[in-house]
């Protein structure tokens, strides 16, 4: 299998990113796959660990349903414990953002611009605010009760807390952002 051979060349690449079917035995497409893995997938290796959703420690929210997080990051208004949440996104180029969009929102990075353009044309809200760096996002979430973001688990600081998704922690097998 092509995916197997490429996985062996790049052992940290998640298997799901390999275009397994219908492309095998086609050299032209194989060259594209090499390009894809090199340019797109290798940067994703940095967060092979799961992403986690974080809020300020001042916000008494321990768990949120996945549907609510989806609504929030798709431009809807969501409240938790009587507090309006405001989502903070990483920049579209950040691999963490791309992974979050795909796993949490079910929208691929290439389709995301189209999604938000269509939402504006429909008269819906604009996308969540983009924060230029993860470090800044962590500080803002820590300081602003109501701010909510996502980072790799290893980046979590003392000032923020991890929110379970549908009652599942990052260590659980069927955690949504794994």
């Amino acid at each position: 299998m092509i995916s197997t051979s490429f996985s062996s060349m790049h052992p940290k690449v998640p298997g799901r990113y390999a275009y397994r079917p219908r492309l095998r035995f086609n050299l032209f497409f194989m060259s594209k796959i090499v390009f894809f893995f090199t340019v797109i997938c290798i940067p994703l290796n940095g967060y092979a660990e799961p992403l986690v959703v974080i809020v300020s420690k001042k916000l008494p929210v321990k768990d949120l349903p996945k549907g609510m997080i989806q609504l929030l990051f798709l431009g809807e208004t969501v409240e938790a414990t009587g507090k309006r949440l405001f989502p903070l996104n990483l920049s579209p180029e950040a691999p963490e953002r791309q992974s979050f969009d795909e796993k949490m929102l079910g929208i691929s990075p290439k389709d995301m611009p189209r999604f938000w353009i269509d939402q504006r044309i429909r008269g819906k809200n604009k996308p969540p605010k983009t924060i230029p760096s993860m470090k800044l996002l962590l500080r803002l979430v820590a300081k602003l009760p109501g701010a909510i973001g996502y980072v790799p688990e290893s980046a979590v600081t003392e000032a923020v807390q991890i929110v379970a998704i549908d009652g599942k922690r990052p260590t659980d097998r069927d955690y949504a952002l794994k």
């Binding site: 349903p65 996945k66 549907g67 609510m68 609504l71 809807e76 208004t77 969501v78 409240e79 507090k83 309006r84 405001f86 079910g106 611009p113 189209r114 353009i117 269509d118 504006r120 044309i121 429909r122 008269g123 809200n125 604009k126 605010k129 924060i131 800044l136 500080r139 803002l140 300081k143 602003l144 009760p145 109501g146 549908d166």
Partner: protein, 445 residues
Amino acid sequence: MRLTHHSLIFVALLTVGIQQSVFAFDHDEDPSNEIELSSEEAAILRELEREGGFGKVRDIPLLDIYGFADVLVGGFIGMNDHVASQNNFGERITNVMLGNLNMYLDANLTHGFRFLGEIRFHTAPTATSEGPNFDGTADHFVHSTSWDAVDGNTPFSFGYIEIERAYLEYVYANWLKVKIGILLTPYGVWNVDHGSPVIIPTRRPFVVASELIPERQTGLEVSGLLSAGTLRIGYHAYTSNGRGSVSTALDLDDNLAVGGRLYIDTTALGRLRVGGSFYSGTTAEERVNVVPESLQTGSPELSSYFSIRNHELAFGADLVWKIAGFHLQAELLSRQVVYDNDARAPTLGGSTPDYHAWGAYGLLAYELPFWHLRPFFLAEHNDFGRADFGGLSGMTIFFIGLNIRVLPVVVFKAQYLHVKLSSNTGSSSVTDPQNGFEMQCSWAF
């Protein structure tokens, strides 16, 4: 149906609720009260305040301006005289026309308030046809030409501006949002999602365009969305002036229309949304005249009556299912109209009967895994329930075409149309099938 007083009470209660909410926000929830910020964080916080709508109002809200436009090339091939008289496309196939130039004015006003305006710039009235009229004047194209006095009196063509929507929205929570102003009626799929970049064919199906439920209304809407797992339940309820030639500003018979929508959205199997809508209201046209007897008294008196008045009840059902690149979409709409016996809409040589019109369309599209190519097929049927559009009683249209999203902001479309007409008169000159070809380029900006 007379909801005026109830609506006023509702608005009053809502106003009290909003004031309380704003008050609480101002004093208890300003996040900048208790944190120290770096200059970078402070700048972002100010942007968040303006865009996200929390904290104290420090600045005039930023206005976002964006929009969409499209250009259409095409027309009908071999059009018969009857249809040509109803449609200024004629037999020309090389028409190039600016379809939409819509501009959005969008501002988060903080504290959950948002303004959204959408205005459309028309090339109309130029090239619209007028008549044939009941007074016998002939059909003719309108030329909206004037002369530019500051540029050597050179001719230019002027056009109309249409307010597509303009409302103030207050979001209390996701389950309770309130809008007031000119609103696109929340029903079906392609009434609110009306921008050409998000519509798969070059135009909306006639079922939607013919406004079996009014396209927009002036009034007040309450809506919300509840979420439980993969299931979401949304609702809309509204009251408005209803239909009528002056309904953007007046409710001539002092009888507010009401309507609503309920839908279920699930991501359990692809993305499936099923909804149902209704609208109930009256349409009235007023005529003011001089009381004849008062002329002889020397002090003429005026009286008014409804020259047209009807009650209507409309329903809609819709479905959108997106799964594995497939896009299945359908809408069914029905409109029942019953006139007051002394205020039927006059037609040539008669008056309009009560009628029950309905229409439905189904769309199947598939997005290929490369180049954002999306071939589609759409079929629609319209039953006018009476003679309309110069004697037609129904119309069936088939579209087959291709939608290409060349960029997230640019869409090319090409489609072939086959139109079958029906008439109770049985005249073949009226019902000869029509064929058309259209290409459209649509873009967001």
